[in-house]
């Protein structure tokens, strides 16, 4: 509860942004360039702009029904700010008493309101619907159950389960003095589980997968720890030669990538090509690793992370081309180029000015240490690598060369080593689709790419990097 000062204008009550931030124990930012103000409460953010009726809550646009304004006494937001986005962030009712000029916040206890169990390609998802963001803990005390606790939550209705699946036999949701507890009983066929909170609508998803399937490093990756120099030197000493290549077969699992006319999927092509490339690189004296060695989904960020953790010296992302018309053909090689938008440059960070959960570095972290800006230090080397590989492919392959260019590819953004993306042919082109299923053709392309990487190694080592 807080006594706050207000301002009336055109029948609308305005509150000082600074007072609200103080009242809810939030952190406020003001960007004089974009004239946007951000209030951050916990992990959530609300951004408002001067003279715009719309606020952005996390990534969602919310109508405030009146425009914030800036006066000599500060930045003012309308009452809609309190009742809309702020109430949602606090998961509470925000009440303004004009008589007493008092602002009070009544917390709403979050509730678990629905239960759904469904099978997916990867396993079974148990979805617990929530009325708002809430804390939760998950653990697996025995092999047979996964327990999810929502401390302080309530359970308005008893929730039943429709029936078991291959991996989940039963789900019990019950209210206790501590909150709500959900117990997911898993079957013998269950291998691993993941618990994740998602928003819009708020829910916690427990994904129970079938028998264990490694979604990351191929077994050999675990052996590369010895390649890591002593911890103290982990940044400085890399680069005594280029010996480790991380191959990243694009797409995988639920993400099929592009699909050809015959039904050939990009995820199959990239994986079989990656295997060929791995062989060809090893034949040229490289250690070759793959970000995935099976048909499984890996996020873009994770791909870069795997390469960084393995201290790879070169990263090669594999993709196919695709287009609306069957005429497009050929190969292209790309390196990373950061987005050039003015607002990005103005703010000196990633983002369009809209808040981006989970991607902001903690205060005090230098931009050049940000994981998603690693590649910016390596663009020159990556361009040289791209040119070497494209040159080698142009000389050796009967494919049309589409050239080398810079693109803002998130998969490369986090790589701390020279990194490229190769599009090895158009899956939407009838002839090239046939070629992409031909092991001999894939081997030829792999040879050309591997020779390109070797040529880059030779020139980099000659110039002492």
């Amino acid at each position: 509860m807080a006594r706050v000062e207000t301002r009336r204008e055109e029948g609308e009550t305005y509150f000082r942004f600074a007072d609200i931030a103080l009242a809810v124990d939030g952190i406020r930012y003001w960007n004089p360039n974009t004239r946007k103000a951000t209030l951050s409460v916990g992990t959530r953010r609300i951004t408002v702009a001067e003279d715009s009726r719309f606020a952005v809550l996390d990534r969602e646009v919310v109508n405030l029904r009146a425009r914030p304004s800036f006066t000599s006494e500060g930045f003012w937001v309308p009452v809609g700010f309190l009742q809309g986005p702020l109430a949602r962030v606090l998961n509470a009712e925000v009440v303004w008493d004009p008589g007493e000029a008092v602002l009070s916040v009544r917390a709403l206890r979050p509730a678990v309101r629905s239960l759904d169990v469904r099978s997916t390609g990867d396993g079974t998802i148990v979805e617990l619907g929530l009325t708002g963001a809430t804390e939760f803990t998950a653990r697996s005390r025995t092999r047979a159950t996964v327990e999810v606790m929502f401390p302080g939550a309530r359970l308005p209705d008893s929730l039943g389960v429709a029936g078991g699946t291959d991996h989940v036999s039963d789900v019990i949701v019950e209210e206790s003095p501590d909150g709500v507890r959900a117990e997911v009983a898993v079957t013998q066929r269950a291998g691993s589980y993941d618990v994740e909170m998602l928003s819009d609508p708020y829910r916690v998803e427990v994904l129970v997968r079938g028998g264990y399937e490694p979604d990351t490093p191929s077994p050999r990756l675990r052996d590369v720890k010895h390649l890591l120099p002593d911890a103290d030197d982990s940044i400085g000493l890399r680069g005594i030669g280029i010996e480790t290549v991380m191959i990243d077969p694009g797409h995988g699992g639920s993400d099929r990538g592009s699909v050809g006319r015959s039904g050939l999927t990009e995820k199959e092509v990239t994986l079989s090509f990656a295997r060929e490339l791995s062989r060809e690189l090893q034949a040229r004296g490289f250690y070759a690793f793959m970000t995935r060695s099976s048909d499984s989904f890996i996020s873009q960020e994770r791909r870069a992370e795997i390469a960084n953790l393995a201290v790879a010296d070169v990263f090669v992302s594999i993709q196919c081309g695709a287009w609306y018309s069957g005429w497009a053909s050929g190969f292209s090689v790309c390196y990373y180029e950061p987005p050039a938008s003015a607002s990005t440059a103005r703010q000196g960070r990633r983002g369009s000015g809209l808040p981006r959960l989970g991607r902001e570095a903690p205060a005090g972290v230098k931009d050049d240490l940000r994981w998603d800006r690693m590649q910016e230090q390596r663009i020159g080397e990556s361009r040289a690598l791209a040119r070497a590989v494209a040159g080698s492919m142009r000389d050796a392959l009967p494919l049309r060369s589409r050239g080398v260019d810079g693109r803002s590819l998130p998969v490369l953004a986090g790589c701390s080593m020279p990194a490229i993306q190769v599009e090895i042919g158009y899956i939407t082109n009838r002839d090239e689709e046939t070629l992409l299923t031909d092991p001999d053709f894939l081997r030829d392309v792999a040879r050309a790419v591997a020779s390109g990487v070797a040529a880059y190694r030779a020139s980099a080592e000659e110039s002492g990097r």
């Binding site: 974009t34 003279d51 009726r53 719309f54 990534r59 969602e60 646009v61 919310v62 109508n63 425009r67 694009g250 797409h251 993400d255 990538g257 592009s258 990009e266 873009q300 993709q319 196919c320 081309g321 695709a322 287009w323 609306y324 018309s325 005429w327 497009a328 053909s329 292209s332 790309c334 180029e337 987005p339 050039a340 938008s341 003015a342 607002s343 990005t344 990633r350 983002g351 369009s352 809209l354 981006r356 589409r402 693109r407 803002s408 590819l409 998130p410 998969v411 953004a413 993306q421 599009e423 158009y426 899956i427 939407t428």
Partner: protein
């Protein structure tokens, strides 16, 4: 008699315009309703010439097509109509579509700093053929269609169903605005 008929038509158009504006308001998308000038200004009849930027069949370069659309005074509405033409696909040979069939341009918002926000329907991400080059051509065609018809546009942000997106088909970073300078 003719005068009466003309009056009825003008009133009819005004009613439709007001209804449209109201519908958009209700959706609460980030519509730039502050301008609201469409309501007050008299709507002229006729067509205007616009440039729609498609791509060639080999996804190598952009192809311009001139097309006439009904005159719309409101800038955001005009931009929306122009992009809707882009979504409809080319009429002349030598060009192919750059947005998936069925894509709807839900709204367009201009800010006063050269930024444009374009809100597409789900088809943009669900039905895109994929490929990093393919995504690049889609972005270039939208960005250049806006830049050619609205001088002063510097950057374009893609939204899908009112929300920011990470990427269109998994390759290029769509979480930041696309600079006209970069997507030539």
């Amino acid at each position: 008699m003719n005068l009466v008929r003309a009056k009825i038509i003008v009133v009819g158009i005004a009613v439709v315009a007001i209804a449209l504006v109201f519908l958009l308001w209700e959706r609460e998308a980030a519509q730039d309703l502050e301008q609201g000038s469409a309501i007050e200004e008299e709507l002229g009849r006729g067509v205007q010439s616009t440039v729609i930027v498609f791509a060639d069949p080999s996804a190598s370069r952009l192809v311009e097509e001139r097309r006439e659309i009904e005159v719309q005074e409101d800038k955001a509405m005009r931009a929306r109509s122009i992009l809707q033409e882009l979504a409809r696909g080319p009429q002349e040979g030598g060009a192919v579509r750059t947005l998936p069939a069925g894509t709807i341009v839900r709204s367009v918002v201009f800010d006063d700093r050269g930024g444009v926000f374009v809100d597409f329907s789900r088809e943009l991400v669900d039905k895109h053929p994929g490929g990093s080059t393919g995504e690049l051509m889609t972005i270039r065609s939208v960005v250049q269609t806006l830049a050619r018809n609205f001088p002063g546009v510097e950057e374009v942000t893609f939204l899908v169903e009112g929300r920011e997106i990470e990427t269109i088909a998994g390759h290029l970073d769509a979480s930041v605005p696309f600079a006209v300078e970069q997507y030539r």
